[in-house]
Each structure stands twice: as structure tokens, then as C-alpha cells.
Amino acid sequence: MSKKTVSLFLALLMMFSMTAALAEAITVTDMFGREVTLAEPATRIVAMEPGDCEILCALGCEEALVARGLYCDYPASVLELPAVASGGDTNLEELLALEPQVIVMNDMAHTKEQVELLAQNGVQVITTNADSIAEVYENIRLLGAVMGKNAEAEAIIADMQATFDGIAARSEATDKTIYFEVMPLEWGLWSAGTGTFMHELAEICGMQNAFADIEGWQPISQEQVIERNPDYIVLVTGMGETAVDEVKDRAGWGDMEAVKSNKIYNADSYQMTRPAPRLKEAALELYDFLNDIAE
């Protein structure tokens, strides 16, 4: 064989082995639009945000978690993991010392600079973000790909979608309104408008969001709540057992439809606000409340 033929053969061999290696590697595009390539599914991972932590556990990857963000608290077993500061207090040294392969961060809570710095230090960073149920599915798919659990991810998504479809099929579209309260009166009222899970859940249940004219979470005027006279009040304030009585006792709220007919529900605020598979349970509980189905 001539020298030329040998080198051609070697080059072909190299190309073949490279494509074989690439086929095993995982390339994902995260929510910042960054392309991240992993040689193999991650086995050492840190979840900074509660929603991502819940998704990873639902995928059956709790074993792979080496630490959790401070506010990750579900399932309860993750509380045994070491907690790291997240959001504005993110401590890069603390994170690097854990030697994770992948850190999952949220693009709202963390700046692009923090993400870039970590990436430069040899840790792969995956950013997630979700303002809608469709985007939660994307997050689940993304993390499923990172962990090599594509089938599990699709199963979770299918289950969630089937639940939402089931509720939507059972619910009749009405003009009745729900007022979601995310901050109590004592702190200045806040409600949730379009671009929130609460808004979508109301739609799935066939109801109107009383504050569909605002975007995201906003401080709102108490007068507006009284004037809009919602048929249902859903508290997402996480204020404990006395929250419903506090609402009933508010001056000027007594004539409100929801208060008169006692349609006030103290929801699990984490379940209803976190981009996680538990949105399914949030939807079921909301449906039960709206349709007077006792738990």
C-alpha cells in the first residue's frame, strides 16, 4: 500500500471514531440559548432552583444530586443534601468546591455573568426558565436529555398533559372569575396576570383570571379587587391556616361574591408557582375546589 492510501485510511478511521464518540455525547441548548455538550449523562449535579430540583427527583435522579439551592425543599428527602446559596447570593467558590459536572440554574434568578464565570471554570451550566406550562415541558425535556432519561421525561410530560386535558374536558367554559392573591393585604396586595401558571390553570379549569389585564406578578389596588368582585379567591400567599379568615375579616370585602359564598381556597403556594411536575396536583386541587369536590 502506498503511503497516500495509508494516510487516507487513517483519516477515514479517525473520522469514523469521532462521529461514533459524538453520537454518544449529549448536546443540548439551554434557555439562555447556550449550546452545552456533555460526554455522557451527568452523575454529579447541583440544582439551584426548587422547580429544577423537583424535576430531577421526578426523573429519578435524586442520587445524582450533590447539593441543592437553599430554597429546594421538595421532596423532603432533598433536605438532607448540603444547601448552597442561590440567586443573588450565589457563591462561586462554594459551588466549585463541590466539583459538580453540571449546575442547573434559573435564568431569572441568576445573571448571565454568573453562568459564564462558572462555565469558564470547567463546570457545565444549564439554565432553565419557564413562565408557561409548555416551557415547563421544555425544562423537563432538557433535564431529561442531560441526565440521559429521555423516556422518563416524555412519560412525565404525557402524564401532566393527560391530567390537564382531562380537567379541561370535564370543565365547562364559564365567565366566572378567580382572583389569585400572591401577597397578602398586610404587605400590599399582589396578583398574578398573564404569563403565570395560575393564569393557565384558571383557563384549564374553564375560568377567567380576574386580573388578566396585568402581566406576571404585580402589586394591585385593593379597590380593583372589590370592584372586580371575583367569584373565587385563591390564596397563593403561603401565610398558613389563618389566611382564609383574614380575608373574610377584611373591611369592605364582605359583599364580594367569593366571600359571601365562602369560595376562598388556601392553595399550596409552592405547588402552584414552581415550574415542576407538581403543577399537575395544583391543577387537580384547583379543579376540586372550584367544583366543590371534597378531598
Binding site: G188, S221, E223, I226, E227, G252
Partner: protein
């Protein structure tokens, strides 16, 4: 040139009361939800004379939401403005005010600490928080003044303000620290730094009115002494003012008033700083006229600021501190430039 009498005349009292009532009416009639003027006035008129008020949305919004809020805003504005005027006179410091001296932050720190530790007074709701806020406001004031005294015997304008600002920053970071560590639900940091009167009711009105009545009478009675202080502490002593006693009484009264305002409405900046200045342009430096006028002007200013906060972005609400700081800072710079030019 208008001849200025020595006292706060009945005529100006009637004039300012009239202006205040007009602004209050405006603030009750205008809001996030537009309610026909006739309904509003009927609801108010009937309540005033104890007549039956027609049921409905307007009754709930006007009487249960807007009226208590407007009353509380007026009382807080009056109290803060009066405190500012008294402190500016006492310390002969045109920049003195609850927020610049660090008294408001001190009060907020006390309130947050009381909430985190669950300090309670039997019988009075929020009594523990208010009492701690008052005590903390007074202690901060004493701490700041004694520090300033140690550093600079003349108690010059700049050193007091500098220490006050540093203390405010310190208090804010401690508040932040407590909020992030506390298990209890504590109002967010924006409430303690920007203030808000949304959600306050008639129970707060009663407390604020009682506090303003008690403390206001005390401060107003010291108009003559404050005039003497304005010329100098030595001068005050020479004309027979018990300097130590007057100083202590005014400082305690101011702390009590600011403590109560902060625990109910959060720290609202600039009212106590700017309003006395604007008032002084109108009344001159005589405290016998300045102090009562500052009451009215502070109330009117805060009412208009709150109206803007409530209505500008409806149905979304702004923090009242955002409006007062925006307007206050600009107004202050204008006043500052004008007084410089006048010199």
C-alpha cells in the same frame, strides 16, 4: 409684602383647613376604580350624619378602603412634616429629618426585630412592635447625636448628617439580615425602605390620630423655645429656656411619632425634609407659624403623592416612597439652588 403676625392666625388656620379638606375630598373621589362623584358624596354625606348608606361597591370601596387610607396618609404626612420641622429647628440643621438622621431606619429596625422575635403587648394589637419601634427610634437618635457630639463638639450640620446616613445604611443591612433569617413572615424590605399605606384601616387611624394629637400638642407648645434654639443654644439658655429638658422632650416626642408612623406605614422619605422647607418659604422661620403650617402642608403633600401612587399605573400600585422620593429630590434641589442664589 404681607405683614406677618407672630402667631398662627385663625385666618390661615381656616384657609389651610379648607385646602386640606379639598385635597382629601379629591383623594377620596379619585382612585383606581372610578366611582360616580354623586355616589361618593352620598356615601360620605350619609356617613357623616349617621344616615343609612346605600349598599354596594361604592360603599365598600369609599368607606372601607379609600377613606381610612386617605385619613391615614394625611395623619402620617402631617406627623412626618411636623417632626422634620421640629428637628430642623432644634438642631439648627436644615438637612435634619427622620430619614437623614437615621431615626426612621432605627424605628424600622426596631419594628423588624420585634416582629422577628415576636414581641407582644397584651391587649393592644401591634403594640409590641410600635413600642419597640419608638424605643429603637429614640435610642438611634441618642446614639447618632452622641456620636456626632464626640466627633465634633459643635454638632455641625455635616457630621450629624454623615453619621445619620451611615447609621441608616447600617440599619438597612441589619433589617435585610433579620428578614432573610427570620422564620416568621415579615413584610418585605421594600415596605421598610419605601413605605406603603395600602391595606391600613380605621384601627390605624385611631392610633395615628391619638399619637399626632398628643405629640403634636407637645411640639406645638415649644414653638417659642424652638425659636430661641434657632438663634443658638446659648441664646436659648440666656433667655431662660431649660435647654436640656426641652431638647429631651422634643427628641422623645419626635421618636414616638416617627416610631408609630414607621411601624404602620414603613419608612417614607423626604416628607419631613422637604415640606418644612417649602413651608418656611411661605411662613418665614418663626416656629409658632411654621409648625402648624407644616402639619397641613405635610398632609397635603403626602395625600397628593399617595393619589399618584394609587392611580398612575392603575390597576397596578406604586410604592408611596417612590413618588415622594422622586418629587422630593427634585423639589429639594430647586429649593437648595434658590436659597443659594438668594444669599
Amino acid at each position: 409684602m404681607i405683614t406677618r403676625s407672630d402667631r398662627f392666625s385663625w385666618r390661615s388656620c381656616v384657609l389651610f383647613s379648607f385646602a386640606l379638606v379639598c385635597v382629601m375630598l379629591l383623594c377620596i373621589c379619585a382612585g383606581s376604580v372610578s366611582i360616580p362623584l354623586a355616589d361618593t358624596l352620598t356615601a360620605l354625606w350619609n356617613t357623616l350624619w349617621g344616615l343609612e348608606v346605600p349598599q354596594g361597591i361604592s360603599k365598600n370601596i369609599i368607606l372601607n378602603v379609600r377613606l381610612p387610607r386617605v385619613l391615614n396618609v394625611a395623619l402620617v404626612g402631617a406627623a412626618l412634616s411636623l417632626c422634620g420641622a421640629a428637628m430642623q429647628g432644634l438642631l439648627r440643621n436644615p438637612l435634619a429629618d427622620g430619614s437623614t438622621l437615621g431615626v426612621s431606619s432605627g424605628a424600622a429596625l426596631g419594628a423588624v426585630a420585634a416582629l422577628a422575635l415576636g414581641v407582644k403587648l397584651p391587649g393592644i394589637p401591634d403594640g409590641g412592635v410600635m413600642l419597640t419601634a419608638m424605643a429603637s427610634a429614640f435610642l438611634s437618635l441618642v446614639l447618632i447625636l452622641s456620636l456626632a457630639y464626640v466627633l465634633d463638639r459643635s454638632l455641625s450640620t455635616h457630621s450629624i448628617i454623615l453619621i445619620g446616613v451611615i447609621f441608616s445604611m447600617f440599619a438597612s443591612s441589619v433589617i435585610n439580615l433579620i428578614i432573610s433569617f427570620a422564620q416568621e413572615h415579615i413584610k418585605s424590605i421594600t415596605f421598610w425602605t419605601m413605605g406603603s399605606l395600602s391595606g391600613t384601616g380605621f384601627s390605624h387611624t385611631r392610633i395615628l390620630a391619638a399619637a399626632l394629637l398628643a405629640c403634636g400638642v407637645i411640639i406645638l407648645r415649644y414653638g417659642r423655645e424652638l425659636n430661641a434654639f434657632a438663634i443658638g443654644e446659648d441664646n436659648a439658655r440666656h433667655i431662660g429656656v431649660n435647654v436640656k429638658k426641652v431638647k429631651l422632650i422634643i427628641l422623645i416626642t419626635v421618636s414616638v411619632l416617627i416610631g408609630i408612623c414607621v411601624s404602620i406605614a414603613g419608612s417614607i422619605g423626604f416628607v419631613g425634609l422637604v415640606m418644612p422647607h417649602m413651608t418656611r418659604m411661605l411662613t418665614g422661620p418663626n416656629h409658632k407659624r411654621l409648625l402648624p403650617t407644616a402639619l397641613f402642608s405635610g398632609a397635603i403633600f403626602l395625600l397628593l403623592a399617595d393619589l399618584a401612587a394609587r392611580t398612575l399605573l392603575s390597576p397596578v400600585e406604586l410604592s408611596i416612597g417612590v413618588v415622594t422620593s422622586l418629587v422630593g429630590a427634585v423639589a429639594f434641589i430647586i429649593i437648595f439652588c434658590q436659597t443659594r442664589k438668594a444669599r
